[in-house]
């Protein structure tokens, strides 16, 4: 540990940031740089690994260890690093194309294993770096360069996908809400296993205004269903009540406050968080925001290293000489 407390400046690299003016990535980067000193972790023990896409330039701008890898594979590379180096704090930076399309397989497997990775999924619902094709998070019917007559694909809900993979920490936040983003990063950092944070991020060039419903002052309070552990789940106009095994939305003036669901992020049953994740549609009119799920399950790298330690404790450290001579041997004089 370093003696002198680090500041935002310590985590800012000397590289010129090259995102488009107005890109939501700037505010996420700035929030991250300001948040990292709070962790009290030396810079050299923090690693950012990204895939390919606009957001994946992120590691270049942080004065930590970083790797800008290849499309979709950051969780795989980061898993190998985290498992073999449990002393490090490893972040994965990815986007909706990188994580949900080309890299979907690695994402779900990292989450089910509960590898100690903090995965920031920048969701702008578009392919930015390849200049404007629809992504697996784009709403159906989207007109883009590759879908001039409208996209036909049903989009992924990244939060539902992560919960389906039994991720132990899943949250959603917004690029421009620095306070909420910081609080979400804080909770994710405190979580012991995999953490997936979906960040709604505006692409001003190819999908500008995609999240206006939850960002504009006029509509956001009524659209964002705030999830705070121990508090009722509600927006300024709607609340969430139980409806059999699922949930439904009711207008606040049509329901008594005690009927509202009190958020339990620690519910071990993933179907609770999954049902919450289904409240939102592509139109974002009712969008749960905050931490859906935060449960305790042993982290993968700690299990791997515990298993190594227990074998060594039981059998002693390996002896190469003995290994080479194991099994049937014979002597030639």
């Amino acid at each position: 540990m370093t003696d002198v407390a680090l500041t935002k400046k310590d985590f800012t690299s000397d590289q010129e940031v090259r995102w488009c003016p107005g890109c939501g990535d700037y505010s996420v980067l700035s929030t991250m740089q300001a948040f990292l000193p709070e962790l009290g972790i030396p810079r050299e023990n923090i690693v950012f690994i990204s895939g390919i896409g606009c957001s994946s330039r992120f590691p270049y701008y942080l004065n930590t260890f970083g790797m800008h890898s290849i499309h979709g594979r950051a969780p795989a590379i980061a898993s190998g690093l985290a498992i073999s180096r449990p002393d490090l704090t490893v972040f994965v930076i990815t986007g909706d194309g990188d994580a949900l399309s080309i890299g979907g397989n690695h994402l779900i497997h990292a989450l089910r294993r509960n590898v100690e990775l903090k995965i920031l999924l920048f969701n702008n619902r578009i392919y930015g770096l390849t200049k404007g094709q629809y992504s697996p998070a784009s709403e159906q019917g989207k007109i883009t360069k590759s879908t001039p007559y409208g996209s036909l694909d049903t989009p992924f809900n990244p939060v539902s996908l992560a919960i389906g993979a039994e991720a132990t920490f899943v949250a959603r936040t917004i690029d421009s809400d620095r306070k909420h983003l910081t609080e979400t990063l804080r909770q994710a950092a405190a979580h012991k296993g995999s953490a997936l944070i979906e960040i709604y991020q505006n692409c001003p060039i190819f999908n500008d205004g995609a999240f206006d419903q939850v960002k504009d002052n006029e509509t956001k309070e009524g659209s964002l269903l705030q999830m705070v552990h121990g508090q009722p789940i509600k927006s300024s106009t709607f609340g969430v009540i139980r409806d059999g095994a699922s949930f439904k939305l009711v207008e606040l003036n049509a329901v008594d406050e005690p009927q509202l669901v009190i958020h339990d992020a620690h519910d071990p049953d993933p179907s609770y968080a999954f049902a919450l994740s289904r409240l939102s549609g592509s139109d974002l009119e009712h969008t749960p925001i905050g931490t859906f799920r935060d449960v305790i399950r042993p982290g993968y790298s700690s299990m791997v290293n515990d298993q190594l330690a227990s074998v060594i404790a039981a059998q002693g450290a390996g002896d190469l000489e003995k290994l080479l001579h194991s099994g049937d041997t014979w002597v030639v004089d």
Partner: protein, 610 residues
């Protein structure tokens, strides 16, 4: 009353049966008992890709061939002296390889009309005279096994399953193999199943006693120990030798061994073996796919571990982009390709050498990586350590090529003295000011291995072209040209040993030049040619990228170079393009290793311009 014993110099036995008949285990045990007698030995398992093809059919036949002798043997042999066929399918699938006059032992109980019809025998070959030119021994293997076990509380089916031990016992009697090691093996294997243990021991001993007493077997054979250099020996297969070599390299370098792997035939046994050795600190990670397997290995390398991935050809195809990233990041990475028949799924359980050009060139851009190849099962140990030496010295991905033949084949191995194994000095980058992640060692052109956790050298790397020295993103034309050439120069400059030429007369005009698992068949052919008075030289390539520095001179010295490959001429293409020397290819892609006889014939054609 003891039977006469005949001394023979070498024997080739092929055990063949249904996939469920336990032929691989039978062969393994005979191999171990033979090795411990001091014979030299070489083995060739041959099994179908299907786990259990329908019983008694030709696709379900599995076999295990071994060649043992009182002298040095290089291959599992061309033509078996003895075929053990556990059913009509095994006889039919193998009879074409069996020379007239050879001994054939069959389980006659299995030669029922139903089983014969299943494989297309219209009449019973044991009765219709078609096997009259062989020494045929129809033995009631199944019924004798079952009746020997009648006292045990076993179903008929369970009792029948011990018939492979009857066959092993009989062959052990025929060739004077010791029985104590196999008995000890069975006791350990079935320690918790006393009835099954008893059944196997009784069947094994009954088979032995049958040989001793039956009038059908008049003679037994002895093969004297081979002359081998003094030392402690064990039998070893290629995949196990690779695993041991990696563990040894991990111990000798102090690097934690991390294997990221996805199961694939015929490489999975390396994953299985390494997963047993956690007490050496070995981490094995069975990834979700081939890409994650190599990705996790690269991530581990980035963190300062010895990152390894093991696969076969289809897996290499999937890993290519990640290997390109490793070329760009200039990090150590070991990629083991146990080649099998291709393209696509190809022949998963059969051998081939057709991935050479894939590993040389199968990546986008100018993307050079080191390529080396093991020549025999035990050589896999040495080459695994060599792969680690090159990867860590030059901070580069290294392909180590093996194939199905040496992965599953085995041979006696003189166990090396651990004290004589090379040590690797890694030298991670230390804390410093103004650290430059792409500043190179002037001799090796390697960049620093700068691992997270080291204060003051925090830096960012990636797959985008980098500026010389700083490693920052750089798109300038001259810098790209310089970096492309520098990465190539680094690989070209890797120190590898000179290729050794075996040319006893010193004036041979023809050189046999091979690579990989063709070593055994070529050496065997060369031996036979020289015994016949021919002059021929032999050299074997273990380092393919870069080639040994003396290779050009070696090629120039010989009028004709013959290169046998289990592909359509991939090494030949590399040699011709680099050295402008014509190469006479001998190419077969049958999924099987070369026979000695065909290589002798090919050489005779060249030697005498036939």
């Amino acid at each position: 009353m003891s039977k006469p014993t005949v001394a023979v110099k070498s024997v080739i036995i092929r055990f063949a049966g249904d996939s469920g008949d336990g032929m691989q285990l039978t062969g393994d045990r005979f191999t171990m008992d033979t090795a411990s007698l001091g014979n030299d030995i070489s083995t060739l398992p041959n099994f179908p890709a299907e786990i259990r093809a329908p019983q008694g059919t030709l696709p379900g036949v599995s076999s295990f061939q071994l060649h043992f002798a009182d002298h040095h043997v290089r291959t599992a042999g061309d033509a078996p002296d003895v075929l053990v066929a556990m059913n009509p399918a095994a006889l039919k699938a193998n009879i074409k390889d069996i020379p007239r006059g050879a001994t054939i032992i069959v389980d006659k109980d299995e030669f029922t009309t139903r089983n014969l019809t299943k494989v297309g025998y219209l009449t019973n070959p044991l009765e219709d005279g078609t096997l009259s030119s062989y020494k045929i021994h129809p033995v009631a293997l199944t019924s004798m096994t079952v009746s020997a076990l009648s006292e045990l509380p076993l179903s008929r089916k369970e009792a029948e399953r011990a018939k492979n031990m009857f066959a092993l016992g009989l062959l052990s009697w025929m060739y004077h193999r010791p029985t104590d090691a196999t008995e000890a093996f069975l006791k350990a294997k079935f320690a918790k199943k006393s009835d099954i243990l008893e059944a196997n021991l009784i069947a094994y001993r009954t088979g032995w006693n049958y040989g001793e007493t039956s009038e059908d077997f008049a003679t037994s054979y002895e093969v004297a120990p081979a002359h081998m250099p003094p030392g402690i020996y064990r039998n070893i297969g290629g995949n196990i030798a690779l695993a041991y070599g990696l563990i040894a390299a991990s111990q000798q370098s102090g690097l934690k061994l991390f294997l990221g792997s996805y199961p694939i035939t015929p490489a999975s046994d390396i994953l299985h073996e390494l997963s047993k050795h956690k007490k050496f600190g070995v981490i094995t990670f069975q990834a979700e796919d081939e890409i994650a397997a190599v990705g996790s290995a690269l991530g581990a390398s980035y963190g300062g571990a010895l990152g390894v991935t093991t696969t076969s050809g289809p897996g290499i195809a999937l890993k290519s982009e990640m290997i390109g990233l490793a070329v760009m990041l200039e990090l150590p990475l070991i990629i083991i390709d146990v080649q099998r028949g291709g393209p696509s799924t190809g022949l998963p359980t059969k051998t081939e050498q057709a991935d050479l050009l894939q590993v040389m060139f199968g990546r986008n851009g100018e993307s050079p990586a080191a390529v080396i190849a093991a020549s025999t099962p035990s050589d896999c140990f040495t080459m695994a350590m060599e792969a680690v030496r090159i990867a860590t010295t030059y901070r580069t991905p290294v392909f180590l090529l093996s194939d199905g033949y040496i992965a599953n084949g085995s041979e006696p191995w003189k166990i090396p003295d651990v004290a004589t194994l090379p040590k690797f000095d890694i030298g991670f980058a230390k804390s410093q000011e103004n650290f430059l992640p792409y500043e190179r060692n002037p001799e090796t052109l390697a960049r620093p291995w700068a691992i997270p956790g080291t204060a003051g050298i925090e830096h960012r790397i990636g797959g985008i072209e980098k500026q010389d020295k700083t490693g920052e993103i750089n798109y300038e034309p001259a810098n790209h040209d310089f970096m492309v050439r520098t990465r190539q120069a680094k690989i070209d400059g890797i120190e590898v040993p000179d290729i050794e030429v075996d040319d006893p007369s010193g004036d041979a005009k023809v050189l046999f030049l091979g690579w990989g698992s063709t070593f055994g068949p070529i050496a065997s052919a060369v031996e036979e040619l020289r015994n016949n008075g021919e002059k021929i030289a032999q050299a074997h390539l273990k380092y393919i990228n870069p080639f040994p520095k003396n290779l050009g001179a070696v090629l120039a010295k010989y009028e004709t170079v013959i290169t046998p490959e289990m592909n359509l001429g991939q090494l030949a293409m590399l040699l011709r393009s680099k050295y402008l020397k014509d190469i006479v290819g001998y190419n077969m892609v049958r999924g099987l290793p070369f026979t000695t006889a065909e290589l002798v014939e090919a050489a005779m054609g060249v030697l005498h311009n036939d």
